[in-house]
Symmetry: C2
Subunit: 140 residues, 2 copies
DNA sequence: CTTCATGCAAATAATTTGCAGTAAG
DNA sequence: CTTACTGCAAATTATTTGCATGAAG
């Protein structure tokens, strides 16, 4: 049984080809918007409907299989649930890179939920800038 | 001349009643979605059009007067541009609170842009959880 | 005056829904 | 078998655009 089938089973979801493919392309590319997922999956599974993509993203988000990454001025992207990390988002090409959380940041956040009358459940750190690739291209 | 008129003038934008009111309600409530802004402003300026709200938000965002706060699974909210801070977002009531960035966090981020081949331009830290008010209500 | 902003209505894009048919366990 | 999932088409919701009129500097 594949990695994806296991994730789905543990969430009580059936392992359809649609879902397997959605998970697989998100895994391959790291972070994808709804349309990107659709365009990519229909290459291998042409009968897929966009509505199915929407329904499944919502469902898999609720089940904690997927995580939504909201992005300033863009449509949100989706990633597989994984260990804590931060995002480096390129404002030129839109690419999103993961970077592991540093200890320092970890601790800073941990102390927050105590200080505040706030039960912390999830954190999201997005750093916006221009990636190396785009900076190279701009220079030429 | 009001605070808002100054902000607009410095950005090269005309000070219309519409804009003044949009800025004023965002300032009053802290963080607002497009519809909330519209609903609130028409109370005092009933002829306002929703399209005008959209146009101005886009424009004032480009000019750096407003900042978009993207939120997981919700429509984005807008705030006045202000000193660096992080957001505490309540997943129950949707309320957004600002909290000043701690030194620790500051430094952690600063070191990032050096390490990485990435020109850091802006950062956005969102902490999701349940606010005190909602926790109280849940307990009752 | 001159330029830029507004409001309206229409166009487009994004997301959700209901339902009959199909596949997974 | 039984329940959950899919695809389609239609409905909703969100956002953008063009243009004639009106207001700001």
């Amino acid at each position: 049984m594949t990695h994806y089938a296991t994730m789905l089973k543990e969430s009580g979801l059936k392992s359809t080809f649609q879902r397997m493919n959605i998970l697989s392309v998100i895994d391959k590319y790291g972070h994808m918007a709804v349309d990107d997922i659709y365009e990519e999956v229909i290459k291998v599974h042409p009968s897929l409907s966009l509505a199915t993509v929407y329904k499944n993203i919502l469902l898999m988000k609720e089940k904690g299989v997927l995580v939504e990454v909201p992005i300033m001025g863009k449509k949100p992207k989706y990633e597989l649930a994984k260990e804590d990390h931060i995002h480096l988002i390129c404002t030129e090409c839109g690419n999103v890179e993961d970077k592991h959380c540093m200890d320092m940041t970890e601790k800073a956040f941990a102390s927050l939920s105590d200080q505040e009358a706030f039960r912390l459940e999830r954190r999201q750190v997005n750093l916006y800038g221009v990636c190396q690739k785009c900076r190279m291209e701009a220079a030429s």
